[in-house]
Symmetry: C2
Subunit: 147 residues, 2 copies
DNA sequence: TTATAATTTTGTAATCATTATAAATTTATT
DNA sequence: AATAAATTTATAATGATTACAAAATTATAA
């Protein structure tokens, strides 16, 4: 993972390729999502960016996320409906939510599995697999599972 | 589909079996969800029930849904994070959301497919497969797809 | 570079779904 | 029928998101 992946030039170019004007707020939001793969909420991103960008507004974070989503650079994720999270990992993959510790883990989907997940006659553009249960740490009874 | 499926006695019994006190509001909400398989929101249920139950409060619909969910009689579903919907169909199945007409279609999951959707070492209790794209009606270019 | 137009950001107010609360009602138990 | 426990109601509070207009930024063209 080269640092150039997070350079302004690289992010700038990715946005232009996606047909998105590379504004300052959008670059910061996208870089944050590239670095933090823990599916943060808009508010989490806002609070994390705030110290370095005192002039950043909450509305800009929401606007930036909406623009990035429209352009396919990030995707939304919600396991419960009560928290809208974002993910810069846009290829098909699954999400496992541990009902004990609350952590959300990504997991890969075999392309063949993914392709099977579509009813006949329908045209799939994007998919997500959500699984709830216990993560390995929490599955051992009684063990407390940090994170 | 026998009418007895929606009888108060049948719903009453299902709730007792699930360890839930069968109150009037819960029975009405569950019956509505049994009859309407279009994944309604809490507000939609409230508005639909209101004419026949003028004393029903919004809070009771929310409370009833939370109790029914806790007992495993209904499950929540959200495709976008902006609408929390409910479903009385609790077995594993997939949801296809048409990006053109907005309709949400259920589709079956082969048990073997479903079982495969879990990372190693994790213990799955419940899963959902979300797919976005075009439904058959909307897939034919230019055709307008009602509902 | 400067001027102009288009888009984005900011700060604040408004909206809307959901949750909290306490009193009244209903349901279960004795 | 009396008592206790849980649920419902009505309303207020919360909190995330959206709407809005003015200020700032970005792109385009002279």
């Amino acid at each position: 993972m080269k640092t150039s992946e997070y350079s302004n030039e690289q992010l700038d170019q990715r946005m232009r390729n996606a047909g998105l004007r590379p504004s300052s707020a959008r670059i910061h939001v996208l870089r944050y999502l590239e670095k933090h793969r823990n599916h943060p909420t808009a508010d989490r991103i806002y609070k994390a960016l705030r110290p370095d960008l005192p002039s950043l507004s909450r509305a800009s974070v929401y606007n930036s996320l909406a623009a990035l989503e429209r352009s396919g650079l990030v995707r939304p994720l919600t396991m419960d409906g009560d928290e809208l999270r974002y993910d810069a990992h846009v290829e098909d993959h699954g999400h496992f939510c541990c009902e004990r510790c609350g952590a959300i883990h990504d997991f890969p989907l075999a392309p063949s599995d993914a392709a099977a997940l579509c009813p006949d006659g329908f045209l799939a553009r994007r998919r997500d697999v959500l699984v709830w249960g216990l993560c390995p740490g929490c599955a051992e009874d009684g063990a407390d599972c940090a994170k």
